[in-house]
């Protein structure tokens, strides 16, 4: 059983949060030639697209954009394999010496991010990899932290964060869900 416990962000709050994240990215990265935003499938793709668009609006310059699917790189294949619907990995540029920002909706155990980094390494050797997330819910199982965080929210183990994006779910919102047996 799942139930909505609270709405952490509505569409307007999500829009403001993404605008702030885009500004933080621009403050740290002056040279957009060497920057790429890579969304982690599935909802990270749409968040990364929006960040790329926001950066483009402010700087009037294109930002390299890609997507990565981590399904084949997960380390819990035989144990719990919570695999998302497979989406395409599309990296249409050489990653060598680029500063790559991985974008995801929720940071939780860190295993998805680890898998995404491994997947990126299949394409070459980036100069650096940073992480941008809309929500950090804690409960890390690996030494991974985000460089850009929309909102940190401490959850209990029976609580989950659901990020909805208009492109997939019809509306923008971040929900705190409670799961019961």
């Amino acid at each position: 059983m799942k139930k909505v416990k609270a709405t952490l962000m509505d569409a307007a709050a999500m829009s403001r949060t993404l605008a702030r994240l885009a500004h933080e990215i621009m403050e740290r990265h002056h040279n957009l030639e060497t920057l790429a935003l890579v969304g982690i499938q599935r909802r990270g793709e749409f968040l990364a697209r929006r960040l790329a668009k926001l950066v483009h609006q402010h700087r009037n310059a294109e930002v390299k954009f890609g997507t990565v699917d981590v399904t084949f790189h997960r380390d819990d294949f035989r144990t719990r394999l919570p695999s998302p619907r497979l989406g395409p990995t599309q990296i249409d540029f050489g990653v060598n010496d680029l500063h790559i920002i991985l974008v995801d909706d929720v940071l939780y155990t860190g295993r998805t991010v680890r898998a995404a980094m491994n997947s990126l390494m299949d394409f070459g050797r980036p100069a650096s990899i940073e992480l941008a997330v809309l929500v950090d819910r804690g409960h890390r199982e690996l030494p991974i932290q985000a460089d850009y965080v929309g909102q940190s929210y401490s959850t209990s183990v029976n609580e989950h964060i659901h990020v909805h994006v208009a492109e997939v779910d019809g509306k923008d919102e971040v929900l705190l869900m409670e799961y019961s047996q």
């Binding site: 699917d69 380390d75 035989r78 394999l81 919570p82 939780y108 155990t109 998805t112 491994n118």
Partner: protein, 315 residues
């Protein structure tokens, strides 16, 4: 939204496999095609999984394709070939299987000359069983890779007109193609020497036509089967020259049709018999795409049969 997965426990044939399962396997096959285009063509998905390839019949491309698929998925691979095994010392199939079972394999890929042998194997071992060809019965991964190649070429399978030309009676490739293509809504026409067309094959929902030119006038694509030269010794096929003139996909024959017909061949080819070199190497042939898709679709099959999927939570 969690990823849909197949309902299959084993892949013993395409007969009875649902349209949804076939589509899932094909869709994931295309995901693995992307992996094969990367600079590093290997993912850690099956790390710690043991797969044994049991080949009781000679095979080059299927065995290599499976082995490559397994290694690209980071599985631990054991190869077993009959010529170097205890079979030469009189050990039966069941004994061999039980010994392999005792070795705690997660998956067994088997090719065997006896139809139904993989089904028998699946009853003896507590492992995923994948049929790599069981006699004249089925060769399901070949059927899947042919469908994947057609989908890649045409963007669809439903309503596609596919001709299968050659020795239908002895071809496991033909049977898997028929079952698979019928399930996804393609139309199939078979063509070959009359005595090499099984008498009740139309009951499988295929059209039988003895005239290869009529098939070429009708089809979007033709799958040209290898003429097994060993059958010539049995008197089943009178001569190479006669076969080529009546059923061979020659440059002249294709030129007469003035249509864009896609050519498939499961390999190995008898160039100059069932297919001309110029045709096999020409723009209409997608034979090398089939080879690459073969690795990708076998990765997909291994992935889905060995994956205990569960709903996704954010991680």
């Amino acid at each position: 939204m969690s990823e849909p997965t197949v309902t299959l426990q084993h892949l013993l044939g395409l007969e009875g496999v649902s349209k949804q399962d076939i589509q899932i396997l094909l869709d994931t096959g295309f995901r693995f095609r992307e992996v094969l285009d990367r600079p590093i063509k290997k993912v850690p998905t099956l790390t710690g999984i043991n797969v044994v390839n049991l080949f009781f019949e000679s095979s080059t491309r299927t065995r290599i394709s499976f082995e490559l698929a397994e290694k690209r998925l980071s599985a631990d691979v054991t190869n077993f070939t009959a010529s170097s095994s205890s079979l030469n010392k009189g050990e039966g199939l069941k004994d061999t299987i039980q010994n392999i079972h005792a070795m705690k394999m997660d998956a067994v890929v088997m090719r065997h000359p006896a139809p139904g042998s993989t089904k028998q194997l699946s009853q003896f071992v507590d492992a995923v069983v994948i049929n790599a060809g069981d006699g004249t019965h089925e060769h399901p991964t070949q059927g899947l890779l042919d469908m994947m190649s057609l989908q890649e070429k045409f963007g669809r399978l439903e309503g596609l007109k596919v001709g299968i030309i050659g020795d239908i009676a002895h071809s496991r490739v033909a049977l898997s193609n028929i079952f698979g293509l019928n399930t996804v809504g393609a139309d199939v026409m078979v063509c070959g020497p009359g005595h090499l067309i099984p008498p009740h094959i139309s009951e499988l929902g295929v059209i039988v036509n003895g005239d290869v030119d009529e098939v070429l006038s009708w089809a979007d694509a033709v799958n040209v089967l290898r003429i097994q030269r060993e059958r010539m010794g049995e008197g089943i096929i009178p001569s190479v020259r006669e076969y080529r003139s009546r059923f061979g996909i020659t440059t002249e024959r294709l030129a007469r049709h003035k249509r864009e017909i896609v050519i498939l061949h499961p390999g190995p080819m008898n160039r100059g018999v069932e297919i001309d070199s110029d045709v096999a190497d020409g723009d209409q042939a997608i034979i090398l795409d089939q080879v690459l898709n073969g690795v990708a679709i076998r990765m997909s099959v291994l992935y889905h049969l060995l994956a205990p999927h569960q709903p996704l939570e954010e991680t």
